[in-house]
């Protein structure tokens, strides 16, 4: 019964979305206020219906209703409750439903809180949003109905892929989707602006918070995925330039560029056309990411059992959405006139450089990720593009970008003084140089690039702090006045300091973990001791442990340093009988500067075990830096400029009936 209600709600949602995608758009063109006003209740109703469907599916999973095919294939009665719930999106059908739910949440958010949007713009934004929803709802209803029954129902389910039964991964998809789908708001605003034929500072102020919220979620989603790969796969690495990782990284890079270019639109009324294009590209990359990951063209844990009609459907959706919006851009983009001008050396110039470099990096990642698929499609010999390609094309552009990050915010708008900025950053430069010399001295003979990498990271962190100190005029005016300035400083300024500083911490993590990782793989018998990076690890034994839905071979390592005990680590090899599938659980000891990482391998015929032990310097900084970046974004979001007063256009704008606007997407 619940399943039928859920299915019914989905079909109802298709009709609501159909209305939302057409009538308000027509109303905006005709200047008909009644038709435009339809968009708001439609978006809210769409949200309620999709939520009902999602809750229905969640209920079916929680109650283990195995008469529903998706539940039977992906759940099991013995599974812990957390994974019953996360199982809702741990499969193709449910994950698509989650995608649409998030889309509906964002749409309803604009409908409900966008009171001060001009009626025509709001109607158009919601209509474009509805077109995206229509594509995905039709996709679900036509090819991936999550509420399909199976007759006769099995006694118990197949269980969730054990690799996905992990707290890090339980929340990885929702955050990733919040990011992907969040960029749909920027996309909808961009397409609506193209139809409307105008982009101004107020437009940018509406777009920025949505983009920023999406970016925060995507950052968190990527970090969670990377963290999971790090401790679950047992390889000791956290980023493999795997196509699946790249699929989420490309929208992140483009979204980061969008975040910065929207500032220029808001503050300086320039880069309009480019920002619109970037919004379209960012969401297109999110769609491509969804397609790559879900269609099964890539080998990965994300590729659920595939069905060719689905791939074709998503591909068609991609062509219509991307092709349509780019065509609209080609037709209407040139009409967007920018009024702001600026010298190459200026804050705008810095942001343009940011956009140049991020776009180029996005493009090189895109080429490397898609090239093998292209080659496969034309039937040439199969190949794959690996980490050496990505490292060789990514860093030459990222390093200049990172080096320029502290300069940008100190440069003045319109026309800046590079020499003056460098003088103000002398302190950051001096600290970076000191770090360079210290690291060089300590790690003498180590990779030279890594030494410079650490200096770069320092430059980023201290540069961000110096920028904040400059704003507060710290040490140049009495401390009480600086504190007064600190109180008045917009939160967005603190957000930027946190985000840029966090980036520096991430860079340190990347450099440390890739340059100074210590790896040993060896056979150990119970009682054996091995020394890694100053730690003595003794394998005390391996014992059988029973989990809720698995059995496990659990090793115990006694870790000591300089004769005193530090910790006991318990790496495991689990076996999930329902799926007949083993997984590896690493045992990790985290300190502020490094991870000591252990993983269990094969049992040897003579009773020993092959073990992997890594000493991973600065890996914890990766996660800490990512969290700083997300907090920075959240702090910026709470800036009152985004909430009060800002989103009102200076002039009252009537709903301008614009010419024959193609209803693109």
């Amino acid at each position: 019964m619940i399943a039928e209600i859920g299915h019914y709600a989905l079909i109802m949602a298709v009709f609501v979305v159909l209305i939302q995608a057409t009538l308000p758009l027509w109303g905006a063109k005709q200047g008909n206020a009644g038709l435009m006003a339809l968009a708001k209740p439609a978006a809210q109703l769409q949200f309620i219906l999709v939520l009902a469907a999602f809750l229905a599916l969640t209920y079916l999973f929680v109650t283990s209703d195995f008469s529903v095919a998706v539940v039977a294939q992906n759940s099991h009665s013995a599974k812990p409750m957390l994974y019953k719930v996360s199982g809702v999106w741990g499969n193709h059908e449910g994950s698509m439903l989650l995608w649409i739910l998030i889309l509906a949440i964002f749409g309803a958010g604009v409908a409900t809180f966008g009171r001060n949007l001009p009626a025509s713009l709001r109607a158009r934004v919601l209509a474009v949003q509805a077109m995206i929803a229509l594509g995905f709802l039709a996709f679900i209803v036509a090819t991936s109905n999550p509420f399909e029954r199976i007759v006769p129902p099995p006694l118990d389910g197949n269980g969730l892929n054990p690799l996905l039964q992990d707290p890090g991964l339980a929340f990885h998809p929702p955050f990733l989707y919040l990011g992907y789908v969040g960029f749909s708001m920027a996309f909808s605003f961009a397409v609506a602006a193209l139809i409307e034929g105008r982009v101004d500072a107020a437009w940018a102020r509406w777009v920025r918070p949505w983009t920023l919220a999406a970016w925060c979620n995507l950052t968190l989603g990527i970090a969670l995925g990377s963290w999971w790969a790090y401790y679950e796969l047992g390889w000791g690495g956290w980023w493999f330039w795997d196509p699946v990782e790249n699929a989420s990284f490309m929208p992140w890079l483009a979204g980061t560029a969008l975040l910065h270019s929207a500032i220029v639109v808001e503050k300086r009324d320039a880069l309009k056309s480019w920002t619109i294009l970037l919004a379209i590209i960012t969401f297109s990359l999110s769609l491509i990411g969804t397609f790559l990951v879900r269609s099964g063209v890539l080998t990965s844990v994300h590729a659920f059992a595939t069905d060719p009609t689905r791939g074709v459907f998503i591909l068609a959706l991609l062509v219509v959405a991307i092709g349509g919006s780019l065509t609209l851009y080609a037709l209407r983009g040139p009409a967007l006139k920018a009024t702001g001008t600026f010298a190459p050396i200026s804050r705008e110039g810095g942001l343009v450089l940011n956009n140049f470099l991020l776009s180029i990096v996005t493009a090189t990642v895109f080429i490397g990720t898609l090239y093998p698929l292209f080659i496969d499609a034309i039937g040439a010999p199969k190949l794959s593009v690996g980490a050496p390609y990505f490292n060789a094309t990514f860093w030459p552009f990222m390093v200049p970008l990172l080096a320029a990050v502290p300069l940008g915010p100190i440069l003045a708008w319109k026309r800046g003084d590079l020499l003056g900025v460098l003088q103000r950053l002398w302190f950051a430069g001096a600290v970076a140089l000191a770090v360079l010399l210290v690291v060089w001295y300590v790690k003498f003979g180590g990779p030279v690039l890594a030494v410079f990498g650490m200096a770069l990271a320092t430059w980023l962190v201290v540069g961000a702090l110096v920028e904040l100190a400059e704003r507060l005029k710290l040490f140049r005016i009495p401390l009480a006045d600086s504190l007064q300035r600190a109180r008045n400083l917009p939160r967005a300024a603190y957000g930027m300091t946190l985000a840029h500083g966090g980036l520096g911490i991430v860079v340190a993590g990347i450099v440390g973990s890739s340059a100074w990782q210590v790896e040993t793989i060896q056979i150990m018998h119970p009682g054996d001791t091995v020394e890694v990076a100053g730690y003595q690890l003794t394998l005390e034994g391996v014992s059988e442990v029973q989990g809720p839905n698995y059995t496990s071979q659990q090793g115990t390592f006694l870790v000591s340093r300089a004769g005193s005990e530090v910790v006991r680590l318990h790496p495991e090899k689990r076996n999930y009988p329902v799926q007949r599938m083993p997984t590896t659980e690493s045992g990790i000891h985290t300190t502020s500067f490094a991870d000591l990482y252990t993983a269990l391998g094969d049992r040897q015929t003579d009773g020993g075990w092959s073990v992997r032990i890594y000493y991973n310097p600065l890996v914890p900084w990766l996660w800490a830096g990512a969290i700083f970046m997300v907090i920075g974004g959240v702090v910026s979001l709470t800036d009152r400029r985004y909430r009060v007063g800002a989103p009102t256009r200076r002039r009252a704008v009537k709903a301008l009936p614009t010419g024959s606007a193609p209803a693109g997407t």
Binding site: T393, P582, D602
Partner: protein, 147 residues
């Protein structure tokens, strides 16, 4: 600077960055690309020595020797030809005889493939596309068999 000249500077800077990127991409492709070979390819075709390549197929039944030191050996087969593989390290969790596998490494003079990375599937019902293709090309497998 006049706005026109300014725009020219920005466009030129953009183009030169773009050119640099293109050059880097082409150069990086040279070393970053690994080609895929099936066991039949290895038996019949000329294979570049000392170059990283990927092979794929099934782990031959009863060919796996593990648990006797760090080096494990097994054979990868497309059911027409097979190739011996040697790997030092810990095999992925889902590595099993009779299942699909992809290995990355180099072919040595003696015909042994020394793998630096071994990838198995992530899921019970999933066949690595490259392994599937190797079997398909050897005429041993058709779409739909994997489920």
């Amino acid at each position: 600077m006049k706005p026109k000249k300014r725009r020219l500077v920005i466009i030129l800077a953009g183009l030169s960055l773009f050119g640099l990127a293109t050059g880097l991409v082409l150069a990086a492709f040279d070393e970053g690309v690994t080609y895929f070979y099936s066991p039949t390819d290895l038996a019949l075709r000329e294979v570049p020595q000392g170059r990283m390549l990927r092979i794929g197929g099934l782990v031959e039944e009863e060919s796996l020797v593990r648990g006797e030191g760090l080096t494990v050996t097994f054979r990868v087969t497309d059911l027409a030809e097979s190739v011996p593989v040697q790997y030092s390290g810990i095999l992925p969790d889902l590595f099993r005889e009779g299942q699909g596998v992809v290995a990355v490494g180099k072919l040595e003079q003696d015909g042994v493939f020394v793998a630096s990375e071994v990838l198995a599937k992530h899921d019970e019902n999933y066949m690595p596309p490259e392994a599937a293709e190797a079997l398909e090309r050897a005429g041993q497998w058709t779409e739909g068999d994997s489920q």
